[in-house]
Symmetry: C2
Subunit: 253 residues, 2 copies
């Protein structure tokens, strides 16, 4: 089989997003249109935190396979963007702390959210599969799995606009996580995309990269399916997962 | 079996250094006393580079297992200290680049050294075993394996003094790597030591931590045994490894 041209291969990767990215999931449509109950928003914040706080582990797994110091130096920023600095007063806050401010804004105890106690097993399975994939898959596939960022700025823009319009908790301050990702993600993805395009030379390598990106869209989609099933319809919350009214609400202030 | 007291356990860890740390290896004694030929110094710089440039991969392997953002934020500095920033003119140089300046000072082409082409297989086996250990061993054992840093400031001080006294290539500038580690390593090790002392509660956990530190001293010692065997006595350089006079010397200037 002959390899695709660089342009055709890039178009193929972008089509994966057009077909399968989680901006098309009904949970997101409900969230962005203001149709989520406060409890559904809380469930989303609790479960999505598990993804957020696993991302630096995923990126460290990548670094740990990376013998080229230049590539490590370029990739390391992803960890810094999410984890921030040890002392946020004198350094970067980082995406994880921004997410916990959102948690507080939607009425959750940030410590409860950070404990990951109420996270659904299905969320963990999907997210842990992603970390494992980046640790174990062929190197270029590991990079390719990050390319969902190609599709992220659209959903972040929709989300910021939709949440600001429809929910009282939403302010520029509480949505800082998404606003910030609008700046960070494009830098990351430009680097990742050109790496994948450059290094996927044979048809087999291109197929492997496309499969990795497809896998990643599955990781994102599966999280929303689990959320929908538990907290929207049929609304069957799995054993042990967070229930509205149980722990996690902020004490009244 | 009862666990050791915190003090007795710390003393046991320190005794491992007193018995087995590579400051006692004859290669280091020869190096620090000025008895190494220029070629022996070069062989050391080439092989030790492989260790240096694998350390960030080891630390990233640790981060990738680390679900606590605070611990990740504290540990991440190790990667930054070694890799430095993407643009060293506007950021940190990092230990790897400092090591390449040392390579240049001892008459090697830094690009050759950075290629790792002439590194002995025995060096790779030992160093790769360390990265793998940190990826796979129990979590506290992974931390404990970093505690050879407890013993590092003594050897760095001896080395700086010995090299400055005995070798023309040695200046504060070319030995910046070691001078810098005198500042960096104590911060790292204070954190690692209290973590290991706090988390090793049972006798079995203490034994595991002690075994991890012993393993790490083996990793360091084996590198010097290989160096000695190849470049000192009997002087049998393994197939494919760097030979004095073959590539790697800097073009005359």
């Amino acid at each position: 089989m002959t390899a695709q041209s660089r342009d055709a291969f890039e178009a193929r990767l972008r089509q994966i997003g057009a077909d399968r990215y989680h901006d098309k999931h009904p949970f997101h449509q409900q969230l962005h249109s203001g149709a989520c109950t406060p409890e559904q928003v809380q469930a989303w914040v609790i479960n999505r935190y598990y993804y957020q706080c696993s991302i630096p582990m995923k990126d460290a797994a990548f670094l740990s396979r990376c013998s080229d110091p230049d590539l490590r130096r370029a990739w390391r920023r992803r960890i810094e963007d999410h984890d921030g600095d040890p002392d946020p007063e004198n350094g970067r806050e980082g995406g994880i702390r921004r997410w916990l401010r959102l948690a507080e804004a939607v009425g959750l105890d940030p410590q409860y959210v950070a404990s990951c106690e109420g996270v659904m097993p299905a969320t963990r399975f999907a997210v842990d599969a992603y970390v494992r994939f980046v640790r174990e898959a062929p190197f270029v596939a590991a990079v390719a799995s990050s390319l969902t960022e190609l599709f992220a700025s659209g959903i972040h823009r929709q989300r910021i606009a939709g949440l600001l319009e429809h929910y009282d908790f939403a302010t520029e301050e509480t949505l800082a996580y998404f606003r910030r990702r609008l700046n960070e993600a494009p830098k990351d993805v430009a680097f990742g995309l050109s790496y994948v395009l450059d290094e996927s030379v044979t048809k087999a390598q291109q197929d492997e990269a496309a499969a990795a990106l497809t896998f990643k869209t599955d990781v994102l989609w599966a999280q929303l399916d689990a959320l929908y099933s538990a907290y929207v319809a049929p609304g069957r919350i799995p054993p042990g997962a967070w229930k509205p009214g149980d722990g996690g609400a902020r004490a009244e202030v």
